[in-house]
Amino acid sequence: MKNYLGEFEELILLTIGVLGSEAYGVSIKDEMLERTSKKPSIGALHTGLQRLEIKGYIQSWEGGATAERGGRKKRYYKLTNLGMETLKNAHELRNQMFDDLTKLAWNG
């Protein structure tokens, strides 16, 4: 299947989308924890981010430096059009299948 998304990858994409312009490593982690009680390790999160960026679903840019990061710059992420589309596709696919499932259960 083209443009397949893993569960964790989909979750990252969704979180980035939800966060809008405020999506960077720590905020993504926080948001995930708040919404799903999932607590990805930094290694896992960045592996996912790296992977998604290579695939072209997200893009990143450097933001301003803050003292709380030891003077390091934040790297912000946002969905690309391709990313958005892939998310939609995944969503549609799922909705479609769920509809079919309920119909089947209803009529079956």
């Binding site: 960077y24 490593g25 720590v26 982690k29 390790s41 930094i42 290694g43 896992a44 960045h46 592996t47 790296q50 992977r51 290579i54 803050t66 709380e68 990061r69 030891g70 003077g71 390091r72 710059k73 934040k74 790297r75």
Partner: protein, 869 residues
């Protein structure tokens, strides 16, 4: 990031960030930023420790980010949470295995870390000087009658002249010691005086060549004036209370000279080839001419671009210009850094190290590390085979081979890392103990640096991968079908067996080595020195005070005590080579060709009696024969032999310095007047004591305390300005072999450790083999084999391994022992029994270890093991 911020970071944080950078250089900045942010958040909520631990943990999870060149994630399915949890459970479940492994490894690591530190210390001597690689010592090389006499000492003029003649030489300093005698020092507060070692005189240029850490005083000018002195911190505290109050005060030496304290320096480091506690200006009461003639140690400082080889090559012409035509004197420059470990000169400042011993010790260190590693491999494989079914099931359920390998390797890395942590803590705690064993402080600079720690833990990591890797790959590569096959054979275990043979071999070598060293030192202590110095009390009279003049009266008064047998004044003690003169002697009727180079004792009546020597021919000096007071000599047997005196008839010798020929009145049995390291040389004993020297008093063993009191009281009458200082001659001899004793202590302690570790490994191996043979034993028992018979069967394999190891290693062990012994002129023979004892010891130990398991197996009820067939 500025440096101060970097230094403010804790070790763990730097380690974590280092790890991230190493694992994922591309996005390190980003990841580090995130981690830092979370760190500060946790810092507020949960405190520093937790924040640091989380940080470290998170940095480990970055392992996931590692990609190979094609961009594939190597640890895609690596979930540290799960892997660590699994490893932890496995390790806790097999507690004894984990414990044995961690214990064996950490003991091995502690031992090799210490050996590393010790050997490192031995190699750092004198390198603390800024210019150490440019400092050279002026040494003599007297070659006479094909006999090479390398001397560490030189006359003051040479260093000065070399520095004057060569543009490449920037400076020089001459240091003159007190040649082994202690100095009596008095200050305002210590009016009775105390005896101190480590008093030297030095040129004012001292501080331009050597580095001293001054606590007070101006380093440039401290010794410029006569009667000035600089002292170490401990001397300052001892005599003046503290560093600052010492400045400008007066110290008196030997009731003769007053010195003004112009500087106080931090104690010289222990890795220095000399340790001066008090350094007086050489300008005190001397002219340049005097200083040129003084014997001492001369050092020159070459500039950065100088070619020491070229200077050395041109030195003969300098000597030629300043010495008589036929002089055999050779001078050369010896690198400062070579003095301690890489030279064997006579008349050294302090005893120097021994390169062979250091190398042997390094060898022991490598042995121990290898034994520990082999152990680890053996145990991992042995216990891994117990998990063979677990692995089979996992494979059937679809586990990737690579994940199984990672799991097993991770377990092994956890063990090595824990062992490394235990070893580091253990090493840290044991430092004082090992320092007392080694008799010196260890050079610890740099071991707390982050780079060294990273290296150590990198090593643990590597060891974990290598040692855990073999069993991991082996186990993970097995086909599940094969695992569950009834007929699955465990193979010949060639690797395990050869590792065991290797371990045995190294243990045997270490034991043989220890025995040889032990025996040699026992030999030293018990060797017939040719004299009996047991109750010989030494009173140093290295100065010319009242006693020098009243010696005769003092002597008469002492001899009035019935417990004092005899006494004799000597120019030097036996073994006190640095004060001993050398002279050419020829038979009176012989020519210059027949001259023999001899050592000289100047002494007085009762020399032979006091030291307990034996006269093989002729007689001792006698007070009743007038000519004995100046015209007679004693010689030792070696001298008699070299001079060609078969008997004492017409035995006259002639010496350059004396007009008259001297009559040889007696021949003394050879005794060890120099050192057991060197062969006995020809010796001439003159009856002509000077006012300075050592008074040796032979005491009877009874009433020792009261005799000593009597000597003390008598002393006070004659020498009110001086406290009495005495020591026993045999203590002095014992001290001479401190170096050997220390290295023996080290090697023997480490051998015990090595053998212990090897036993741990053996235990693991035995466990493995026994479990594999449970069923075989069960069947044998059913057929009626006795426990004894079974035990023999099971243990014989190990006996064979030990014997094989012994046969393989004996030649090497012999060679190494022989190598170490070549340093001693008087050495033990390497007896057969040493090898016998070593192999027997290892055999017994192996049997004891194995029997624990094999008896268990042999006694097991066969129904239990055979039930599941």
């Amino acid at each position: 990031m500025d440096n101060s911020q970097k230094n403010g970071r804790s070790l763990l944080r730097r380690l974590s960030f280092g790890l991230i950078e190493w694992l994922s250089p591309e996005i390190a900045e980003n990841v580090k930023g995130d981690l830092e942010e979370m760190y500060y958040r946790r810092l507020k909520r949960r405190g520093k420790l937790m924040a640091e631990i989380f940080l470290f943990w998170e940095s480990i999870t970055c392992l996931k980010l590692v990609r190979n060149r094609k961009g594939m994630y190597l640890f895609q399915f690596f979930d540290p949470n799960i892997h660590f949890k699994m490893s932890w459970r496995v390790l806790i479940k097999n507690r004894s295995y984990t414990l044995i492994n961690v214990a064996g490894l950490s003991i091995g690591l502690i031992a090799s870390l210490f050996i590393f530190l010790y050997v490192k210390t031995e190699h750092t001597y004198d390198q603390y000087h800024d210019q150490s690689h440019n400092i050279y010592r002026v040494v003599y090389d007297l070659t006479e009658r094909n006999e090479k006499l390398p001397w560490a000492i030189s006359k003051g003029k040479w260093a000065r002249m070399i520095s004057k003649e060569y543009a490449q030489v920037e400076g020089y300093v001459n240091i003159t010691p007190t040649w082994g005698s202690k100095s009596l020092l008095k200050s305002e507060t210590i009016t009775d005086g105390l005896y101190e070692n480590g008093f030297v005189w030095a040129d004012p240029t001292l501080t331009s060549v050597f580095d001293f850490q001054f606590l007070a005083g101006n380093p440039e000018t401290v010794l410029d004036d006569p009667n000035t002195i600089i002292i170490s911190k401990s001397i300052a505290i001892k005599y003046f209370g503290d560093v600052n109050s010492a400045m400008g005060k007066t110290l008196n030496r030997d009731n003769e000279t007053d010195y003004k304290v112009t500087g106080v320096y931090e104690q010289m480091p222990s890795n220095s080839h000399f340790h001066a506690e008090l350094i007086a200006s050489l300008m005190t009461g001397t002219t340049q001419e005097d200083r040129d003639k003084f014997w001492g140690y001369g050092y020159v400082l070459l500039n950065e671009n100088a070619d020491p080889l070229a200077v050395n090559e041109s030195l003969p012409s300098l000597v030629k210009a300043h010495m008589p035509e036929n002089s055999l004197l050779k001078i050369w420059l010896q690198p400062l850094e070579d003095i301690y470990l890489k030279s064997e000169l006579m008349y050294e400042f302090e005893p120097v190290g021994n390169l062979t011993t250091t190398r042997l010790l390094s060898g022991v260190g490598v042995f121990i590390l290898l034994i520990a590693c082999f152990n680890f491999i053996n145990l991992s494989t042995a216990y891994g085979s117990r998990r063979i079914k677990e692995i089979g099931i996992k494979k059937v359920l679809g586990a990737y081979r690579s994940n199984l390998v990672k799991q097993l390797v991770l377990e092994s890395i956890i063990i090595t890392t824990v062992a490394m942590v235990v070893a580091s803590i253990g090493t840290y705690l044991l430092i004082p103990f090992v320092e007392s064993l080694a008799g010196k402080s260890l050079d610890l600079t740099g071991i707390l640096e982050y780079r060294f720690l990273l290296l150590v833990f990198g090593l643990a990591f590597l060891l974990g991968i290598l040692a855990g890797g073999y069993p991991a790959f082996y186990l993970a590569s097995l086909k599940p079908k094969k695992i569950f096959d009834k007929g699955h054979s465990r193979g010949k275990n060639l690797l395990r067996k050869s590792l065991t043979v290797f371990q045995f071999a190294m243990s045997i070598t270490l034991i043989i080595g220890s025995l040889v060293i032990y025996k040699q030192l026992r030999y030293f202590q018990e060797k017939d020195m040719g004299m009996e110095p047991d109750q010989a009390l030494v009173i140093p009279l290295d100065y010319s005070d009242n006693l020098g003049k009243n010696y005769r009266a003092f002597r008469e008064e002492l001899l009035r005590n019935p417990s004092i047998n005899s006494m004799s004044m000597m120019s030097n003690l036996p073994g006190e080579l640095i004060r001993m003169w050398t002279g050419d002697v020829r038979p009176a009727n012989g020519t210059e060709e027949d001259a023999v180079r001899t050592k000289v004792f100047t002494t007085d009546y009762d020399f032979v009696r006091t030291l307990g020597l034996t006269i093989t021919e002729g007689r001792d000096f006698s007070r009743h024969i007038v000519s004995d007071s100046s015209l007679s000599v004693l010689i030792n047997k070696t001298a008699a032999h070299r001079l060609g005196f078969a008997d004492l008839e017409n035995a006259f010798i002639s010496v350059k310095q004396k007009e008259h020929d001297l009559r040889v009145i007696g021949i003394v049995e050879d005794f060890h007047f120099a050192s057991l390291h060197s062969e006995i040389e020809p010796l001439v004993i003159y009856n002509n004591p000077g006012p300075k020297g050592k008074l040796v008093v032979s005491l009877s063993t009874e009433n020792l305390t009261s005799t000593l009191e009597y000597i003390g009281d008598t002393w006070k009458n004659y020498e009110p300005d001086r406290p009495l200082e005495t020591f026993f001659l045999n203590e002095y001899f014992n001290q001479k072999y401190t170096n050997e004793r220390n290295s023996m202590n080290l090697i023997i302690s480490f051998t015990v450790l090595a053998v212990f570790i090897a036993c741990l490994g053996l235990f693991g191996l035995a466990t493995y083999v026994m479990h594999g043979r449970l069923k075989e034993v069960g069947i044998r028992k059913v057929f009626g084999a006795s426990v004894v018979r079974l035990f023999t069967l099971l243990a014989s394999e190990f006996v064979l391994l030990v014997l094989l190891a012994f046969v393989l290693i004996s030649p090497l062990a012999y060679y190494l022992a022989d190598l170490w012994l070549t340093d001693f002129a008087y050495r033990i023979s390497i007896d057969f029994w040493i090898f016998g004892v070593a192999v027997l010891f290892v055999l017994l130990l192996a049997l004891a270890t194995v029997s624990y398991k094999s008896l268990y197996v042999a006694k097991t009820n066969p129904t239990k093991v055979l039930a599941d067939e």
